[in-house]
Amino acid sequence: MRRIPGLNLLQLPLILTLLLPAPGALAAQSAATERYLDHAELTREVRALASRHSNLISVDELVRTDQGREVWRLTLAAPGDRDPDSRPALLVVANLEGNHLVGSNAALHLAEHLASGYGEVEEITSLLDRRTVYILPRMNPDGAELVWTMPEYEIPYKPHPSAPDQGGLNIRELGRDLSGNGRVQLMRVPDPTGSLIPDADEPRLSREANRARAERGLFTLHVEGIDPANAEAYVAMGSDGVNLNRNFPHEYLPFQPHVGPHQVSEVETRALADFMFDQVNIAAVITFSPYDNLRSAPPAQRTPPQGVAPGPPSVPTNILGDDRPFYEYVAERFTEITGLTGDGEEGEAGSFPQYAYYQVGLPSWTTPVWTLPGEGGSGGGAGAAPGGASSDPVGAWAVQTSVEGQPLDATLTVTREGQELSGVLDSPAGSVQLSGSGQAGRFQLSGDVPQMGTISVSGTVTGNDVSGSLGLGPMGSAAFTGTRAGSAGAGAAPVSRARGATRDHRWLAYFDEMGIDGFTEWTPAEHPELGQVEVGGFVPNARVNPPEAMLEDLARRHSEFAVWLGHQLPEVEIEEVTVEPRGDHVYQISATVVNDQYLPTHLQMGVRIRTNRPITARLLPTDGMAVLTGNIQQQVPRIHGMGGRHTFTWLVQAAPGTRIPMELFAERAGGLQSTTITLP
């Protein structure tokens, strides 16, 4: 190791204390980051945003609901040569489930994040200069309004016009609030024939008594206030509230409750499906919905949901092999950028995210914005405790190394700032501010120390262990190892990950940990027909929408991901056109086109289902020109990303100086482009 005279690590405290500037607070404070918005307030926010940024945002009505509310569509693009409707576009869809309000906040935050960051933040400026972002912040305004008009229920449905009663919901038994707490939850009805008992590990939850283990059932469980004797009444299919995210054709469940009378039966879903097909520049989709394929990539093999009508074996049921790596990589980047992990639920039957991939052929991502934290990660929100056995580098690490033969104990604290990591290396020698990047399993940080140069820390994380190397600039490098602070003796997983724990167990543990009022303890109440019962259970929508204090942080993380994803959209450009004279007025024309972006112009699914048209190049018929090879128009099914290229070649005969127009058509990767070739 080469020595720098007069300087060693022990001198660090004397010469450094650099503080990183606080991360720029780009997103202006707005209602979208503070509270949930009903239709009127959301409309005001949308209009205010559009008028503040009229050069960047245009707003129109995608469709009007049965109850007369506008489904707003925001188009974000900076003025430029190319029409926003022909630039590769990202579509962001929120609130198909009316009670999933957090999606609307995240979608509006994205609009604000982009508009206020334009001209300030390079990656946002370049995004809006070259791309279009369509945002549908509230697909189901009629359903969302129920959160305000019927706050005591957890209802994702759109009230259906054909439903004859209960305000268009026709939920035969919505239940009643017996306990007087303003919520309709669950009730335990004491019943010697009941099969349920409180779960010994978590008595707030119930489980089946096991008669073979000498357990005796104590109660039945029902929606609070209903009369179970009347709850089984016949409901004609298609005449109840509709979950818009069950109304799309892929793996649609015919003749089931809350799916609508048939596929795409609602004005909202029809408008969205048509928009997907008509707006042929849409190249990728993010849906904020209860489903997730970002916190964890979708599985390679899945079983279609029960109740899907049998179809031919040619109906795809899994993400195709060529497409999986894209889903895996983007999921990794999502976790790196947002710091969010968790085990989201897969898109279920008839959902929009599934339709977008399986029947429109587009890359389609979905995230609930907020959900149960996964192993060691954060479900979302500032203060979500790291822990567990993840390999996320975020956390505090006790590390040991040795510098020039001297053992050195230090503490490495890594935090996430948006897409970046920052850290502090604290040692008896002093403190170094670091910044860098990382993801589950790996990180790289560095910081500048005056007179010493750059200190770098790169490590590999395996559960609670870390190892890596410390780069000391001119002094060379040293290996280090460490463990997660506080992990000693913490061999037991947190309660939220206990074996056998159901999702509800984990929700309770998470609520307890975060101090969220998400569950009402069982309390006695009087039922008019059943007598004494106990009322309690999860608070309506507590597992759907986070406390409002968490909105800003969650929305910001998702906006940063959306910006990253926007930069990955495919775009085919004409890289080079060469004309090679072959004599006798015969020329070979070669046009090479390139997709320098991450995503391919078509996923394998888009090619297979033929919804995405091929990449087409053509010479336009020109007086005096003969295409000797006959192939005036040529097509290739797709062009890969990361420098994927294709060369179109024509042999033509025409007089020197002939000007031949050429067109390139790549519908979701740049639209129609033209150039003119002049023969030498």
Binding site: P164, D165, A229, Y234, V235, A236, M237, G238, S239, F248, P249, P254, F255, P261, H262, Q263, V264, S265, R270, A273, D274, F277, A309, P310, G311, P312, S314, V315, Q359, R608, I609, R610, T611, R613, P614, T616, R618, L620, P621, V627, G630, N631, I632, Q633, Q635, F665, E667, L672
Partner: protein, 593 residues
């Protein structure tokens, strides 16, 4: 139940007064209403040529004329517009004297979802006309018009019919711009009628010794492949047309390119599996108009679609994957078979077939949706086959060679009308070619002299189908005192027709409201109730809950009955009601004494 559509007055039991009124009306109309069917020496009230095909505008005029002639029975409405903005007309046939249209079991007939299948529209025009012309003369016609509602949609795809008439060529599709070749441009190079004879014919080029085809030695009009090892004298160049967009290919992107009979929700599959499917079910304005109309008519108990050709009475399911069994549930099949097997007798040369098993697989066709989602019994007739032209007389070893069969009929029955001889044409790209071949008015299309028979027989099949919609009637109920004020009440309702009052599939899918048997009365207490059982019919299988209102899961099957027994206490009059979405609401009463 909140949404039972009640038939307040049962047609069969229509009051004496109503019957009298009808007689008066009929008597008044009689001097004017000559009719040509039972008295074929007379002129009809509305003169329509049944030996020719009618354009959209002519059809509209005919509909308006019929509505003006029979305003008491016919109403005309537009249920939507085609892609090109033509009104999609729907005629309701109903006698308001016997009840509102939505209170009767209804028959729905749709035609020409494929615009080139031109007979279809004519059948629906004939059906309206036949019922109206003969209402005053044929008792069965009067019974049908009085008891039933008919919703007749004569032309679902008017845009394509217009293309067929004015230009010809395949026009099964609608006329929405559709980018067949995926090059970013729609409909940029369709086939063209180069010779101006309103036909899209075939092109061939004479290239002696360098081609693929030769003239048949049997008849030079027939082109056959050159025998192996030899060169032909002609090359076949496909449909009439030029390279309109200069891309070196002819006719590669013509009008439309989708199939609206793949646009219905049940069993729907996207276009990579079911060619012709559009974006999602009901994603075309024409099919959506039809779908919305039918969703608002839960009284529709039977449906009919008219197509061409091949001579078939088709039933679903459209695919072998339907319900995992590839067949409809057994109880419902009885009604289909009853109608289909007799339909083969009404329609010589037609075969009663199941779509996927006997023809080909169809995902998202009209029939499966009508059956599964409407709970209606539906057929698709493939109108016309050349067997009807040959009348079974063709002999494979007869005096004329087999391959001459169609040309023989063209020459000797059509007087040459159906084949265009090859004629020279100077093609801008191909040089001297010849254009000719079979007319659009042959093969799929019925020749004029046989058209009326086709319209009549298929109308008769439709009216048979309509007549077999459920027709319910109570037997006289029985009362038996058990002790004191406790009685046993037994009520039986009969279905006089073949189609059940509620299909098994409707119950399986929970579509519409179930059939219900109810008993009510001033001071009635229902102690128990259930379906009548026991050899002597004096026992019951009690229902578990709410015996006052018994849910009859499969309705009253065809030519069958359902009997329920209640043990009640009380006195006075008990009203017994049977309500059925397709079969109407019927009441009877008993005295508890």
């Amino acid at each position: 139940m909140t949404s039972i559509r009640a038939i307040r007055r049962h047609p069969v039991r229509s009051s004496f007064l109503t019957g009298f009124m009808i007689l008066i009306l009929a008597a008044l109309a009689a001097p004017l209403a000559a009719q040509p069917f039972s008295q074929p020496d007379r002129e009809p009230q509305v003169n329509i040529r049944w030996d020719r095909y009618h354009s959209y505008d002519e059809m509209t005029e005919i509909l308006e004329r019929m509505v003006a002639t029979w305003p008491q029975f016919l109403t005309l409405e537009s249920i939507g517009q085609s892609w090109e903005g033509r009104d999609i007309w729907l005629v309701t046939i109903n006698n308001p004297e016997t009840g509102s249209h939505d209170e009767k079991a209804a028959f729905f007939a749709e035609a020409s979802i494929h615009g080139n299948e031109v007979q279809a529209t004519e059948v629906n025009l004939y059906l309206i006309w036949f019922l109206m012309e003969n209402y005053d003369h044929l008792p069965k016609v009067r019974e049908l018009v009085d008891q039933r509602t008919f919703y007749i949609l004569p032309l679902l795809n008017p845009d394509a019919r217009e293309v067929f008439f004015t230009r010809g060529g395949p026009s099964r599709t609608g006329n929405r711009p559709f980018d067949v070749d995926g090059d970013g441009r729609a409909n940029e190079d369709p086939p063209e009628d180069l010779t101006g004879n309103r036909e899209i014919l075939q092109m061939r080029k004479y290239v002696p010794g360098e081609g693929t085809h030769i003239e048949s030695p049997v008849d030079p009009r027939l082109m056959i492949p050159a025998p192996p090892g030899t060169r032909g004298d002609y090359i076949m160049l496909g449909s009439e047309g030029t390279d309109l967009d200069g891309d070196g290919r002819r006719n590669e992107d013509g009008f439309g390119g989708y199939d609206m009979n793949r646009d219905f929700p049940v069993g729907w599959q996207p276009s990579h599996i079911q060619g012709g499917a559009y974006r999602y079910p009901f994603s075309n304005p024409e099919t959506r108009a039809m779908g919305e109309f039918l969703k608002s008519r839960p009284n529709v108990a039977a449906t009919q679609s008219w197509h061409n050709f091949g001579g078939m009475i088709l039933r679903g399911p459209g695919s072998q994957y339907y319900r995992g069994t590839g067949n409809y549930p057994a109880r419902d099949l009885r009604a289909f078979d009853y109608l289909g097997e007799r339909g083969e007798l009404i329609l010589p040369y037609y075969r009663y077939w199941t779509i996927w098993a006997d023809l080909y697989t169809v995902y998202g066709g009209t029939l499966d949706w009508a059956y599964d989602a409407l709970g209606a019994v539906g057929f698709t007739n493939e109108l016309w086959s050349l067997e009807q032209l040959y009348q079974g007389h063709w002999q494979d070893d007869g005096p004329v060679p087999n391959e001459m069969r169609q040309l023989f009929f063209n020459d000797r029955v059509g007087m040459g009308a159906w084949f265009h001889d090859w004629e020279e044409y100077d093609h801008p790209e191909l040089g001297r070619v010849e254009i000719g071949g079979w007319s659009k008015w042959f093969n799929r299309t019925t020749p004029p002299f046989m058209l009326q028979e086709l319209l009549h027989r298929n109308t008769m099949f439709a009216l048979f189908h309509a007549d077999e919609m459920p027709l319910l009637e109570f037997d006289e109920p029985r009362v038996e005192r058990i002790a004191g004020n406790t009685f046993r009440v037994t009520a039986r309702i009969r279905n006089h027709r073949a189609i059940p009052s509620r299909l098994q599939v409707a119950e399986m899918n929970q579509v519409g409201d179930p059939d219900l048997f109810r008993i009510s009365g001033g001071n009635l207490t229902v102690q128990a109730g259930g379906f009548t059982s026991g050899e002597l019919g004096n026992e019951l299988r009690p229902v578990e809950r709410n015996p006052q209102e018994i849910h009859v899961a499969d309705g009253v099957m065809g030519h069958s009955d359902v009997s329920v027994t209640w043990i009640v206490s009380g006195s006075g009059t008990a009203t017994i009601e049977y309500s059925s979405m397709k079969g109407g609401v019927h009441r009877t009463s008993v005295q508890l004494r």
